[in-house]
């Protein structure tokens, strides 16, 4: 994987330079080393999967990227600059959005309001202008609403726009959460198990949305997923983690044939 020049994938997508570079990340909780000296990069426009058995440190890695955890060692480079330790809301302003393993929607709000919160980083009107509403605040609201409506169309959730999120079934909630992340128009989208707990049909829908997002908006995506069929089909490159170490990194084919990965995670088919 020494290649860093832009290239075109087999299905015609443009892969650019390195967008995010994790260098020697080490994360400890007390005496437990959740992540041990891991380095990998995410390139512009690609779909990057992080896989590994439970407790391997995948979600911790995502939390490091989104600013919840601050690694004891190592550097996070984003768009060619070293990132200072940041709070999650500051990371969001850099253009990194994410979804959660357990759905983290705002249950008391409607679908529309939930997705509108995704636009928060783009809305700048001050307190006083909002108190007056007419004028700046209203114009900004309508402009952002238009973008949100595009996302709603894209994810085919027009019919539930005004429904309180608490009333929706699981699969739709996952989709709304994706919509909220997309509304931010992120440069890097982190998906923590976007297909956990879904049936085959819902998984197919979700896979299609992920591919479309990547294809149409050129959004770089890093995802954690346990369904190997999905991972191998969707992703351009895969990082494999086990007990906080990186044991494999490469294209799906390379990873699939990596003996260490087979031993630790993939296993072999029974005869």
């Amino acid at each position: 994987m020494a290649q860093t020049e832009p290239y075109i994938t087999a299905d015609g997508r443009q892969i650019g330079g390195v967008l995010m570079d994790m260098r020697g990340i080490t994360l400890r909780f007390g005496g437990v080393e959740a992540i041990k000296n891991i380095s990998f990069d995410i390139r512009e426009g690609e779909i990057r999967a992080i896989i590994g058995p439970n407790g391997a440190g995948k979600s911790s890695m995502l939390n490091v990227i989104s600013g919840f955890y601050h690694p004891q060692d190592g550097e996070v480079w984003f768009r060619g600059e070293k990132r200072k330790p940041m709070k999650p809301y500051q990371v969001a302003r850099l253009g990194i959005a994410r979804t959660f393993q357990n759905i983290a929607l705002f249950e008391g709000m409607s679908v529309l309001d939930n997705i509108m919160t995704g636009r928060l980083t783009h809305m700048k009107t001050g307190l006083l202008a909002q108190a007056v509403w007419k004028g700046r605040a209203e114009r900004e609201e309508v402009a952002n609403r238009e973008i949100v409506e595009k996302v709603i169309d894209f994810l085919e959730i027009q019919a539930i726009r005004k429904t309180p999120v608490g009333r929706l079934p699981y699969g739709l909630k996952k989709r709304v959460e994706l919509a909220r992340a997309l509304a931010a128009e992120p440069k890097l989208l982190l998906l923590d198990e976007p297909m956990a707990g879904m049936n085959v049909e819902e998984k197919e829908d979700m896979s299609r949305f992920i591919l479309d997002v990547n294809d149409e908006f050129g959004t770089t995506i890093a995802l954690i997923e346990h369904d190997m069929g999905v991972v191998m089909d969707l992703s351009d490159r895969v990082v494999v983690m086990d007990y906080g170490r990186k044991i494999g990194d490469g294209t799906p084919d390379e990873v699939r044939n990596n003996q260490e990965v087979i031993d630790a995670y993939l296993g072999v088919a029974h005869e």
């Binding site: 989104s66 709070k87 999650p88 809301y89 929607l105 008391g108 709000m109 919160t117 007056v132 900004e140």
Partner: protein, 358 residues
Amino acid sequence: MLYREAGDFKTSYQADSQTFPIAFDRWRFWVVLVVAFCVVPFFVNAYWANAILVPFLIYAIAAIGLNILTGYCGQVSLGTGGFMAVGAYACYKLMTSFPDVSIVIHIILAGGITAAVGAAFGLPSLRIKGFYLAVATLAAQFFLVWMFNKVSWFYNYSASGQINAPERFVAGVAVTGPNTAPWAQYMICLVFLTICALIARNLTRGTIGRSWMAIRDMDIAAEIIGVNPLKAKLTAFAVSSFFIGISGALFFAVYLGAVEVGEAFGIQKSFLVLFMIIIGGLGSLFGSFAGAAFLVLLPVALKVVGVDVLGWPTDLVAHLQLVIVGGLIMFFLIKEPHGLAQLWRLAKEKLRLWPFPY
């Protein structure tokens, strides 16, 4: 047949996000507003103003304030009485120090001062949540009342420790002091309530309101999509205290005229306003009105029914009132945590489809 969404198509996002999406609601809103401004002032007498209308208007402002903090931003506060006291004393000091400035400006400034005090007492909310935050605001309540009792500068060293509102005029009409006409009291409170409610509505439907609700519903997810929790919580405390300060200033200057802090702004006041928003509905502006109306009307209604109609002794009715309020709080917390506003919303949803629900 008027109460219909069907056929009422919205062609712009402004129209879609307006306050009353149903035409009938819009009409009713304007009718209520016209009646409140143009009809009631001509018929209001001292009894109606003092027993029902003025306290309702003032408590509605306080309830809107607390609802922003507790209902929208999810930060429980038991300091409402203390913050009302800040508004009242700020207003008093301003009135006596700058007698030439209009009382309206004094009341707004009193709100601003309370906002600053509220934001300062909101600082612990960045570290502590829920029950513990409630106790911290309770400390604010006791500290503020103690301070206004202890530091005699606040009541201009008067012997009684009370503060008395001097007579002030708006457009030549007395609005404070002993010679105030009931309709003048009513009008100034109504104007403030209308403006406060409009501001609250605008704030809660926009970006700030969404970041408050995001913090309330799930603070971790709120942070990940770019809500600065410090800013969101402190603006909620400040805006909420602004309204509560205004209500405190009106309560002192317009309604009571003379105030002794422990009596007027004690812990009971904090609980009363909290009960209003619990019964009325957390996270709903309509709920603030409904709760304030309910808890202002309940004692009056009980007195009329119990004492005047049934001839029960006054103390029995007073105790009965406590029992009923307590029972209602439990009922609403268990059965309908979103209060009267939710019952109203459900009724409306049913009405929209009635008589063909399927």
